[in-house]
């Protein structure tokens, strides 16, 4: 790889690099001020919370890359949580089958979104707004009141550590990156997603599978939200059809995607940035906790940090000389 190539790569992943640096600084600050310091339980607790949002944010990244937005990821997350709380228990075979069904349900929800967007030619934001209501309704049907159960040994394993050192949830996240995200990004449909997001007309004229890329992005998004829903079941040992949980995760996932350096206009960024965006958002909450900020001030502080973080991109505006570039 030549020096020019390296420079280009660095410039392209500027958002990701900033997100990683900010996260490392914040997490160091958190650990330094935590009364217990860097111990396995502290890291595992932090990881379990962060991985949930990280998975949902990865799910959000794919539609955003194609230039859309998925307002139903939080509801797919809640729906698969409710489904897992009814299916993932009993004998090992039943558990395995339950997990497969939960993941398929997530993927199916994403596929429906994609099919309506591609074949129905509706805007993603309004499509997922409506399907989100449907998925929430299904979640309520599955679990009218919070409850349910999940195979306890598996849940304990997934929310604890491997060899008492590495949190299992982080390994799950790594596996998802290595087995799902990276192969997808390097495939034809994966590259098609980037192309569709940056210039749909040009992608079509170049013979790229425009429709198939979009459909794949939404389906994979549903699958990732399904993995997150399964993980939530392991963390809480139950299912709950909660509209606030779904709404909060959807909104935080958009913020995480932006903080992770993915453009909301599509075509640039990636799921790894979103993971660090999610980690940053979660660490902010943890920092508020260790610094003993009065609880009344916490929501305002979180809001201001969120607003500040998303406004950072505005630096671009003041560097632009030709004002017409603003409208691109």
């Amino acid at each position: 790889m030549s020096l020019a190539d390296l420079k280009l790569r660095l410039a392209q992943s500027q958002g990701l690099i900033i997100a990683v640096v900010v996260f490392v600084l914040m997490f160091t600050l958190y650990i330094a001020n935590h009364p217990a310091g860097l111990t396995v339980p502290v890291v595992t607790t932090a990881a379990n919370k962060a991985v949930l949002l990280a998975l949902v944010s990865m799910a959000q990244t794919l539609p955003v890359l194609t230039g859309g937005l998925d307002l139903s990821v939080g509801m797919v997350f809640v729906m698969t949580n409710c489904l897992a709380s009814t299916l993932v228990s009993g004998s090992p075979l039943e558990v395995a089958l339950g997990i497969v069904v939960v993941l398929l349900a997530g993927a199916a929800a994403g596929f429906v979104n994609g099919a309506i967007v591609v074949y129905g030619r509706l805007q993603p934001i309004i499509t997922t707004l409506a399907t989100g209501a449907v998925y929430y309704g299904i979640a309520l049907l599955l679990r009218p009141v919070p409850g349910g159960e999940v195979q306890e040994d598996l849940a304990d394993f997934m929310t604890w550590t491997v060899f008492d050192t590495v949190p299992t949830s982080l390994l799950l996240l790594l596996a998802v990156v290595l087995l799902v995200w990276l192969p997808f990004r390097n495939s034809v449909v994966g590259r098609g997603c980037y192309a569709v997001g940056s210039a749909e007309g040009a992608a079509y004229m170049s013979g790229l599978p425009v429709g198939r890329s979009r459909l794949a992005a939404f389906t994979l998004s549903g699958l990732l939200a399904g993995i997150a829903g399964l993980m939530l079941t392991f963390v809480t040992f139950s299912g709950e059809a909660s509209a606030p949980i779904g709404g909060t995760y959807t909104l935080n996932s958009i913020a995480a995607v932006v903080i992770g350096g993915t453009s909301l206009y599509g075509g640039a960024g990636g799921a790894i940035g979103s993971i660090f965006g999610a980690f940053i958002l979660r660490t902010i909450d943890d920092l508020l906790f260790v610094f003993d900020l009065p609880p009344l001030w916490q929501p305002l502080f979180q809001g201001v940090v969120l607003l500040g973080a998303v406004s950072l991109g505005a630096a671009r505006v003041f560097r632009i000389r030709n004002r017409l570039e603003l409208f691109n």
Partner: protein, 315 residues
Amino acid sequence: MAALVKHIDRPVAIAFGFIVLLLLAGSLYSSSFLSANYLLQQLQVAAFLGLIASGVMLVILLGHIDLSIPWLVTVGGMMSTAAAGWWGPEWAIPFGVFCGLVFGIVNGLGVAILRVPSMIFTLGINAVAQGIMVLHTGGFAPQDHATDLMHWLAVERVILGIPNAVFIWAALGIAIVVMLKRTPLGRYIYAIGNQEGATCLSGVNTKLVIISCFAISGMCSALAGVLLAGYSSKGYQAMGDPYLLPAIAAVVLGGTHILGGRGSYLGTIAGVILISLLASILSVMQMPEAGRQIIYGCVIIGMLLVYGRGQKVLG
């Protein structure tokens, strides 16, 4: 007559047709659906959503979106009751709407000057507004019950048994229609929704137009919050949460294009009534929440598949 028909475009006609269909289907279930009292009650509830949707529509016409609705509604409701406690009841409504205006202007500044995508900037403002309201409630223990005037505006029916809230919605609606059809600002809004760059090159102060629309949207949400506080006789946290999605859905069902540049206020009225009526009929039928959500989502998708489809990509 022919001229009138020409002015009503397809989405609006279908939306109104669906409203009639809903009423007929409802009347098969119970004849009270066609009674004047029931219909007026629906209009009263729809008026709150209508106020919010009016502001949201302007922002959507620009090609932007306002996700700060939930907490700006709450700001309107809570700050108006608090102002009544601090300085006397006559300050309640002006101060509530003023707070919405301030947040709306900040939204506009972020979108127009900083050029942060509206989706994410208004989301941030929503979080900040929530933070301020939490601090405000916990730190100052403000008055939370509505003034007599707020209650009167939201609940009473003075003229011909028509709720006062409907008159407020009508007044705001007429003002917005006149603004959209008869003033330069209205034409600039459509122009920006179609081609912002071209509009700016034509010498229009696009930044000012964008800031104005977000400011109006903030005021509309806060005004709805003031009336909602009057309706339930107090302002409380998260009172605006159920209004974001219905407001956007109402605007889009009324034929306004979600990417901006196209849409009419008549459509928004149809969308608001449609959404309110659907919710009401399902709740009268004692449909459980789960079924209500599923039907709600399917109706939106179904109606948009009939008339809201985009162009095929052809290079």
